[in-house]
Amino acid sequence: MSIAAPAPRHWKKPPLIKRAWLRWAFGLGAALYLALAFGTTEVNWSRVWEGLPRGAQFVSAFFPPDFVKRWDEIVEGISESLWMTVVSTVVGIALSIPVGVGAARNIAPVPVYYFCRAILAVSRSFQEVILAIFFVKLFGFGPFAGAVTLSLATIGFYGKLLAEDIEDMDAAQAEAVRATGASWLQWINFGVQPQVMPRMIGLGLYRLDINFRESAVVGIVGGGGIGATLDTAFERYEFDSAAAILLVIIVIVMLAEYSSGYLRRGLQ
C-alpha cells in the first residue's frame, strides 16, 4: 500500500474583492478604460520637450527665490488674502448656522429641512472658481467678490457638517432641557449647542485654513488676494518671484495647520 503524496498546500492572500467575476470585470474594465483614455489623450510631446528647460528654470528659481523684487506686491496680495479669509469665514459660518440647523432632520420641520438641504447642495456643487467668475462679473474686480465666493463655499461645507453633527447628537440631553419648559431658542442654546460646539470650533478653524488656500485661487479669475499676484508673476515668467509667493503660501498654510491643531487639542 502506498501512501498518497500530500496535496501541495498553497496559501494565498484573500483578495480585496471577494467575488471572482466582479474582480475580473473590474480589472478588465479598468484596463479597457486606461487603453481608451491613453488612446484618445492628445499630448504634444514636442511642446513638452521644448518646455523642459523652462521647467528646469522654474525649479532652479527656488534656489534662491526672489522675495525682494516684488515684495510690496506680495505683502499686499497676502494681506488681502488674509482679510478675505477672516471675513469670509466669519460671514460664512454665521450664515451657515441657520441653514445647518434647518438641515438637521431631527430638529427641523420637513419643508424647512428640504429647503435648507437644497441650499447646501447648490452651494456645494459649484467649484469656488466658477462662483468667483460670476461674482467678479457682478461685483467688479477685487477682494469683495472673492470674499463673497468664499463665504458661499463656506456655507455649503460648514452647514452640511453642522447638520450632520446635530443629527448625530444625543437626543436625551436635548429632551431633558425641553422637559424644563425651555423655549425653542433656549432649547437650541442649552440642549443642542453644547453638544456640537467642540467639533464645530475645530471645523471652523479647519475652514479658516481652507479659505486661505482657496483665496489664492479666486485671485486668478480676478477675485483679489495673492492669486492675482501669482498669476501676474507667471505671466511675466518671473519664476523667482512666483517661487517666493508659493513658499509664502506654504509657510502660512503650515503655520495655520499647526496652530489650529494646537488650538483644537486645547479646546477638546
Binding site: 511642446r47 513638452v48 522654474f58 466669519v90 456643487s125 457682478l138 477685487g142 477682494p143 515668467y237
Partner: protein, 272 residues
C-alpha cells in the same frame, strides 16, 4: 461644581463662573474687532456702486442664460471625456506617488524618523497647500496647454491628500498582526506585504475613490488656465459672451459632479 450667583438672598443658576464668562467676552471682542477691521480694508478696495448694481446685473445675466443652448451639447462630449480622463489618470498618478510618501511618513514604517519623515511630511504639506489650479497654471507654462498639464496638476495636488490619509491609516494598524508575520521569520518586504498591506487596503481603496470624486470637481475648472477639459469650453463661452452655452456647461458640470458623487458613495459603501 455648579456656579451660582446670589441675588437678593435667592440662588440663581449660572452657566459659567465670572472668569470664564470674561474670557469668553474678551475673545468675542477680539474676534469682532478683527472682523470689522478686515471688512473695513476690503470695503476700501470695493467700488460699492457696482455692488449695489449687482442684483440688477444678476437678473440681466440670468435672463441671458435662459434657455440653455441644448444643441451645443453635441460638442461637449469630448471635453467631458477629457475632464474625466484628467481626474482619473491624475488620481492614478497620485496614488502611485502617494504610497511611498505615506510609507515614509508613517511613524511605524518610516526608514528614519529624524531624516526621511520630515521630508515626506513637507512633501505632503507642500502638495496640499497649493491648489490644483495653481499647479495647472505652473504646468501650462512648462509643458504647454492641454490635458497633460491637467493630469500632472491633479496628480501633484492629490499626492498630499492621499498620502496624509494613508499614513494616518498606516499608523493606526494593529501591531500584533505585523508582529505575528514577523515572528514567522518573514523578511522586511514580506512583513509589509502580508502584515501591513492587507490592513490598510480597504482604507486605501476608499481614499482613492474619495479623491477621485474631488478630482472630478476640480478638473472641471482646470481649463480656465488652459489645462484642458470642459473648463476650456466654459472659458471660451464666457469670453465670447455666449451665455446660453455657459448655462448648458454649468448644467453638464453639475450633472457630472452628482454622478461622480453617487458612484463614489456607492463604492465606498461597498468597501467599508
Amino acid at each position: 461644581m455648579m456656579t451660582v450667583a446670589v441675588k437678593g438672598g435667592t440662588k440663581i443658576w449660572q452657566r459659567r463662573d465670572r472668569n470664564a464668562q470674561l474670557a469668553i467676552w474678551a475673545s468675542w471682542l477680539v474676534a469682532i474687532v478683527l472682523f470689522v477691521y478686515c471688512f473695513q480694508l476690503i470695503s476700501e478696495k470695493t467700488i460699492w456702486a457696482f455692488v449695489w448694481d449687482a442684483p440688477a446685473q444678476a437678473g440681466d445675466l440670468a435672463a441671458r442664460m435662459i434657455p440653455p443652448d441644448w444643441g451645443y451639447i453635441r460638442q461637449l462630449g469630448r471635453p467631458i471625456w477629457d475632464t474625466m480622463n484628467i481626474a482619473t489618470l491624475g488620481t492614478v498618478v497620485a496614488i502611485f506617488l502617494a504610497v511611498p510618501v505615506a510609507y515614509c511618513a508613517a511613524r511605524n514604517t518610516t526608514p528614519s524618523v529624524t531624516l526621511v519623515r520630515p521630508v515626506a511630511l513637507f512633501i505632503i504639506v507642500a502638495s496640499r497647500s497649493i491648489n490644483s489650479l495653481i499647479w495647472a497654471l505652473m504646468l501650462v507654462t512648462i509643458v504647454g496647454p492641454g490635458v497633460l498639464a491637467g493630469i500632472i496638476a491633479i496628480g501633484l495636488r492629490s499626492i498630499g491628500f492621499c498620502a496624509k490619509l494613508l499614513y494616518e491609516a498606516i499608523e493606526e494598524i494593529d501591531e500584533a498582526q505585523v508582529e505575528a508575520v514577523r515572528s514567522t521569520g518573514a523578511t522586511g518586504a514580506q512583513v509589509t506585504v502580508f502584515g501591513i498591506v492587507p490592513q490598510v487596503l480597504p482604507a486605501f481603496a476608499g481614499i482613492s475613490v474619495f479623491r477621485w470624486d474631488i478630482n472630478i470637481r476640480e478638473s472641471t475648472v482646470l481649463g480656465l488656465v488652459g489645462a484642458g477639459g470642459i473648463g476650456l469650453e466654459l472659458n471660451a463661452a464666457i469670453t465670447q459672451l455666449y451665455w446660453t452655452q455657459v448655462s448648458l456647461i454649468l448644467l453638464v458640470i453639475i450633472a457630472t459632479v452628482i454622478v461622480s458623487e453617487w458612484v463614489s458613495a456607492k463604492v465606498r459603501h461597498a468597501i467599508i
